[in-house]
């Protein structure tokens, strides 16, 4: 059909426009002075020090992820299943947190971290982000749609509340937690502004920060190394995306068809 053919042609054109810059970036990072090699990657890994940046990004993302899964499951469960005095107001506060431009708390958070002597620590890079409101919202909405029968049954068998949460509810939350995991890791891995402000020394920087500062060097920019660093920073995200494509897309669009 002509219509489908035209559609495909248009889609291919868009595909090319989307993919080309990324492929080109890869090309620059591989095209070392002496042919195609991984030299830039090796050099930037060691002297970047991108190995350190990578390590920091992994640690920070892992901690924030773990924190979110536990804290948000707890809070979401509380909002879904329990009567809370002022619960409506509280939940509204949670939701409002999502819409707020984070820059409003940039300066005070920095001052706070300074006073607590937490600048340049993993604590500063992780603690403020371990209970994202969006995740709580997701989990609550997910739970509200599920009748509390399993929990009631466990309760009747004499199980304590905490045990119910971890043994009964968490397994039920798997789909929602998958979305939480993907969403949180993604945002955190790519996060720039707060990690930038909250660190001063190279050894504590995460990939986006290290990469950005490398490009701001006084001397002329070395694009080969810079693009190699950019690829290193993007690789985990792209790899995870290619593997978890369907979950990522369906997770981010959950509820959109309403």
């Amino acid at each position: 059909m002509m219509k489908t053919a035209l559609k495909i042609a248009a889609l291919l054109a868009v595909f090319a426009v989307m993919a080309y810059p990324l492929v080109w970036m890869l090309g620059i990072s591989l095209r070392t002075g002496d042919g195609v090699s991984l030299r830039y990657f090796k050099e930037v890994w060691q002297t970047g020090p991108f190995d350190r940046y990578f390590f920091n990004s992994v640690v920070v993302t892992a901690i924030v992820l773990a924190g979110n899964i536990v804290f948000c499951a707890m809070a979401g469960y509380a909002f879904a299943r329990y009567k809370i005095p002022g619960g409506r107001v509280l939940f509204f506060l949670v939701v409002s947190m999502i819409m707020l431009p984070k820059q409003v708390i940039l300066v005070p958070l920095y001052i706070l971290m300074q006073k607590m002597h937490l600048i340049d620590t993993y604590a500063a890079l992780t603690l403020p982000f371990t209970a994202d409101a969006f995740n709580i919202f997701l989990i609550r909405q997910f739970l509200v749609a599920i009748p509390p029968d399993c929990e009631e049954a466990a309760r009747l068998e004499g199980a304590g509340e905490l045990r119910i949460l971890f043994r009964v509810v968490m397994p039920m939350l798997k789909p929602a937690l998958a979305v939480v995991a993907i969403h949180t890791s993604l945002i955190n891995w790519n996060s720039f502004l707060f990690p930038f402000i909250l660190t001063n020394t190279a050894s504590m920087r995460t990939l986006p920060v290290g990469l950005a500062l490398m490009s701001q060097g006084a001397h002329s920019v070395d694009w080969g190394h810079l693009m190699a660093g950019a690829v290193i920073a993007s690789l985990p995200v792209v790899a995870a995306f290619l593997v978890f494509q369907r979950q990522i897309i369906s997770g981010l669009t959950s509820g959109m068809s309403k």
Partner: protein
């Protein structure tokens, strides 16, 4: 008490469950938020704490007379108004293209979505090179026999260049959202439209867009809020230049706080961003709020 009522628990479980989030929220969000508000009424220089003084609305009135703030505001507004409608419309268009049976649809969707999950720092650096005098864009243009240009060094084109980049990186994400929303439109609507002899454009106008109103509103709001906060791109690519043509509100905030060490003024700017993005979001949402409140 019958088994179907929710038992009102004694306090501890709720408190225990909400405590971790509560602490994080209270210490790292609510407190800074309120503190920021208070800060905006003060003159506070961290290196000269004794000089801290109450200036009331001084920081805010200063905003109106600050050339740099006006410039940053103008640029940011230009950015928001220039990218949000374009991205949203392009995303809708892409989603429309993806409708029906298309071979390789999954691959297309993946490719479109990819730029939006890559770090803004990476994309900014990539395009910084792309727009460079000897970079990809100029190379491609010279192949076509056209002359290159200093895209990021010309004050007239720098902001536009960044805007194009922003659309490129964001459109796929919203396209996928619209694509998912399309799936939720009942087939009956389209069947009814076809029966009434509606063509493509009419179907679009009277079935598709109205059905998508809430999603469009959602996309507009999150896109607007996000766009008001633009920082990474201008910080990495142009540092607000050339000649302040890419200076934005958050960049101004950052420099007021961490270069000029004027925390009070920075907080005032932050609240200005907050109020502005909130106002624009509400306007955008109003425009596209679902109008029909049918009983169905």
């Amino acid at each position: 008490m019958n088994a179907t009522t929710r038992r009102i628990k004694p306090l501890p479980p709720q408190v225990a469950l909400l405590l971790p989030w509560g602490v994080v929220y209270g210490v790292f969000f609510l407190f800074p938020f309120v503190f920021s508000f208070v800060l905006s009424f003060l003159h506070y220089n961290p290196l000269n704490v004794e000089s801290t003084s109450w200036v009331g609305l001084g920081n805010f009135t200063r905003l109106f007379g600050d050339e740099r703030f006006i410039r940053a505001l103008r640029n940011t507004l230009f950015f928001v108004v220039g990218t949000v409608p374009v991205t949203t419309t392009a995303a809708l268009g892409l989603a429309l293209l993806l409708r029906g049976r298309i071979p390789g649809k999954g691959a297309f969707k993946a490719a479109f979505f990819l730029p939006s999950i890559i770090s803004a720092v990476v994309i900014s650096l990539l395009f910084k090179l792309f727009y460079a005098p000897n970079g990809g864009l100029n190379n491609a243009l010279s192949l076509l026999g056209l002359s290159g240009h200093g895209w990021l060094t010309d004050p007239r084109t720098a902001l536009a260049a960044i805007m194009v980049m922003d659309v490129w990186s964001a459109v796929g994400y919203y396209a996928i959202i619209f694509d998912a929303a399309f799936a939720g439109i009942p087939k009956e609507f389209y069947e009814a439209a076809t029966l009434e002899g509606a063509g493509f454009r009419d179907t679009l106008r009277y079935v598709t867009v109205p059905a998508l109103r809430p999603v469009i509103a959602f996309v507009l709001v999150i896109n607007t809020i996000r766009s008001f906060q633009i920082f990474i791109e201008v910080f990495v690519m142009t540092q607000g230049g050339p000649l302040g043509s890419t200076d934005t509100l958050v960049l101004h905030l950052y420099e007021a706080a961490f270069r000029s060490l004027d925390y009070g003024y920075a907080s005032a700017i932050a609240y200005a961003v907050f109020v502005l993005s909130g106002a624009f979001s509400i306007i955008a949402m109003r425009q596209f709020r679902p109008r029909l409140r049918s009983g169905a």
